[in-house]
């Protein structure tokens, strides 16, 4: 692509738009900004701007549009598929200083936020006001802008759905610099094509989110988790469709293997309540009263015990809650710390095929002799599967990694799944997306990208822009 290379003149012009202290040039930009959390692809922006307002973002984008400069938006950089990496240099707009919670509207049950608010800040704010913001991805230091851009799901999707279900309105700066308001503080909408839903999950390729109105729900008064050990992962996961079929309505059903728990114990230096079993389910129930929650979990506990669970541990003390949930939140980091390098597969399959898929990863690990730990959301079919390099040579690692990815995505396709449940396509998964959805859908997505971004300036090379061969 023939982008304009940023010059000193451009930087002077951009300093007229952004405050000087919020504009960093190439030599001032830290290494962190050249990659995301998984670090598989590396490239520096030429200029980093810490955005302060919608108007400023609009002015920067307008300048970039007029001068043919690529623009990449970045939140906290916690992504895993390279979506926030400036493949073609240009301008990186960081949203972390746009981090104000602007309004709580208790009559419309909404909270209005800037995109740089962190998930943990929003969760705490909601709770302090007796509300719940249901989406609950493991990475609490991600920004809300990032969560919306990947349609992040998190642990409570079983009962509450995903980020998409909680976005009422978005203020978006288009690649032309125009500002549009999508949706509103309204519960229903049938007014033209849902541009808001197109923006959600578009990973910063169609527009820049500068404000979001999010739906809240009343805070459930009681919440209790059950930790349920099983003799094997297969047995644990095979219990999940039975739980669903029994019309139990848990908030979350997570699965975890002993190996991963041990890594987390080591990583955190903290004990998990039980590590004697090979596999565990972690179920959460919430509701408006203790008796309601008890009735629900009691029925489910009995069902699990009748289906081969070894025990049911109530996670009801603060200490247990802390040890279980801090471990759960640390799984990604713990696996990362256990190996030299890793890559991730974030497939989602229908929930009655989770057991089959996990079995397949075990079989694959033996077949190609590579370590493939996993954890994830058994209740919603979204798995986080890690392929670990350990002590393999670069050549062997790349060969095995490619093979493992190909096989796993192929299997997920066969089971009616999708490439990504919540981490997105970004740079890394484009070929697999094409395999999954086929040529017609890719053509439509590329057409949509062209409509929003005719000059191809916004986050180029991502999602459906097939930049693999084009990186400078």
């Amino acid at each position: 692509m023939n982008y304009h290379k940023i010059s000193r003149e451009d930087i002077l012009a951009l300093k007229q738009i952004a405050e000087e202290k919020n504009l960093l040039t190439r030599e001032q930009i830290g290494e962190d900004y050249s990659h995301d959390e998984l670090g598989g692809i590396t490239s520096y922006p030429d200029v980093l701007i810490r955005a302060g307002s919608t108007e400023e973002v609009s002015a920067v984008m307008k300048y970039a549009y007029d001068h043919n400069i690529p623009v990449v938006v970045r939140g906290s950089g916690t992504g895993l598929v390279g979506a926030a990496v400036a493949l073609y240099g240009g301008i990186m707009l960081e949203t972390t200083q746009m981090n104000r919670i602007l309004e709580l509207d208790e009559e419309n049950l909404t909270v209005t936020v800037e995109p740089g608010v962190l998930l943990m800040e929003l969760a705490q704010f909601a709770q302090d006001h007796d509300f719940l913001y249901p989406p609950d991805p493991g990475e609490k230091s991600a920004t809300i802008g990032g969560n919306i851009s990947t349609n992040a799901g998190g642990m409570r999707a079983v009962k509450y759905g995903v980020t998409r279900d909680y976005v009422r309105a978005l203020t978006v700066v288009l690649p032309t610099g125009e500002i549009v308001e999508l949706g509103g503080k309204i519960v229903k909408n049938s007014s033209g094509y849902s541009l808001k839903d197109l923006m959600i999950g578009s990973e910063g390729t169609l527009g820049i989110i500068t404000k979001a109105v999010l739906k809240l729900v009343p805070l459930p008064q009681k919440s209790i988790s059950l930790l349920i050990p099983y003799p094997s992962m297969e047995m644990a996961i095979e219990a999940v469709p039975e739980i669903i079929r029994s019309k139990s309505a848990p908030t979350a059903i997570e699965f975890m293997e002993r190996e991963t728990i041990l890594f987390a114990e080591e990583y955190l230096g903290k004990k998990f309540p039980d590590t004697q079993s090979d596999a565990y389910l972690l179920l959460t129930f919430d509701g408006s009263s203790l008796s309601q929650v008890e009735a629900e979990y009691d029925r489910t506990a009995k069902l699990c015990l009748s289906q081969g669970a070894l025990d049911v541990l109530l996670v009801d003390t603060d200490e247990r809650k802390d040890s279980v949930w801090s471990a759960r939140s640390a799984f990604l980091e713990a696996i990362k710390a256990s190996t030299t390098e890793m890559d991730e597969c974030d497939v989602v399959v229908p929930r009655n095929h989770v057991a089959e898929f996990i079995k397949y990863t075990h079989q694959l690990a033996r077949e190609i002799d590579i370590r493939i730990p996993s954890f994830g959301h058994a209740g919603d079919g979204n798995l986080h599967v890690y392929i670990c390099r350990d002590d393999l040579s670069l050549e062997v690692w790349q060969e095995k990694l490619t093979l493992a990815f190909e096989k796993m995505y192929e299997r997920a396709n066969e089971l009616g799944g999708a490439v990504s449940g919540e981490h997105g396509i970004g740079y890394a998964k484009q070929a697999f997306l094409e395999q999954q959805v086929g040529e017609a859908q890719i053509r439509l997505m590329q057409g949509i990208k062209q409509v929003f971004d005719p000059k191809g300036l916004l986050n180029p090379g991502k999602v459906v822009c097939g930049a693999a061969a084009l990186i400078r």
Copy 2:
């Protein structure tokens, strides 16, 4: 537009695709097919095909694409904005014979249906299997395909959301005739732009829905309604934000005026439990146990009484349930029967502005001296407002109608609302959509239409295709 006019040759060719008994030519097509339920715009298709399968729809569409023939899809024809009218003639594909419920999947909590299944059939099927399909629009004889095409909301949106929230997957025939599968039996998805969400609410302009996988929820074991009389409509509706603020979670909050109830009594020949008051709220609560439901409605009943409600009538006997809900379902027909002609405004506003908007319609009715009854979903801000012609001359009626629409949509815009909550834009509301969303969004929507349908064959002249001036 330069469409090919259907010839005898085309009809012979189409008879090779569809069964002869399912293909009707112009002279065989009944008057019903020239308009929808509100009947504001009239035009006949040249050929009517009762579609039998995805493959058949694909073959018809492919033929139309190759021969430049417009295609309009129609379900039960219960629309109110002319979306299913064949403005340019051509082929009408009717889906009512594709009416099978294909699968109930109790492990993934989904039901798979053809588009011609009626809402009431699906609701009954779900209930018979101890599930709930939550979307509950008043028009029970609409098809599911139609509900998806308008993102219909219905009465339970307060608690359960709208049709969009229950669509897991769609099989869609594109304007080229290609068949694509959007989404899946998966709970999370972050795999490219959400074409599924673009299709939902696109009113048959982007593709033809031939199969849908819908999400179900366990059937709440108890459901109870409260009918709450108020001395005035303002007082009734002003109670709603207070109910929401109290963190009560009703399934539905409907409002109704005495005048509308009296029309319904007359129309149905059936008594309503109470008609002494000017205005009523109808609240429903559901849950897993009677005690839970009682606790919820008890708290809300007390709140309403403390805020000026005259009484709280429990709708708990079958007789009362029938009289209240059959009246509620008949409001549209009853208002229609009370006048010579009418048009509808389906605005949605933030729910704390409903009272203000209703007050405004009352004021407007006085100002321009025209009758404007209304009813609707106070709990989710979606109002159904009817402008009645009564005995006005055509000229005066058109003048007053235009003025009333302009004023009401303008007011809705000022309040942060949208043109349509659930009935769509269709043919009738295009100018108001443009006023609401502005030029940039219309440009994006038109671009998207062009990407999906480069020849402009599918449901031309609707949503964003500005056909007002082009009708033959």
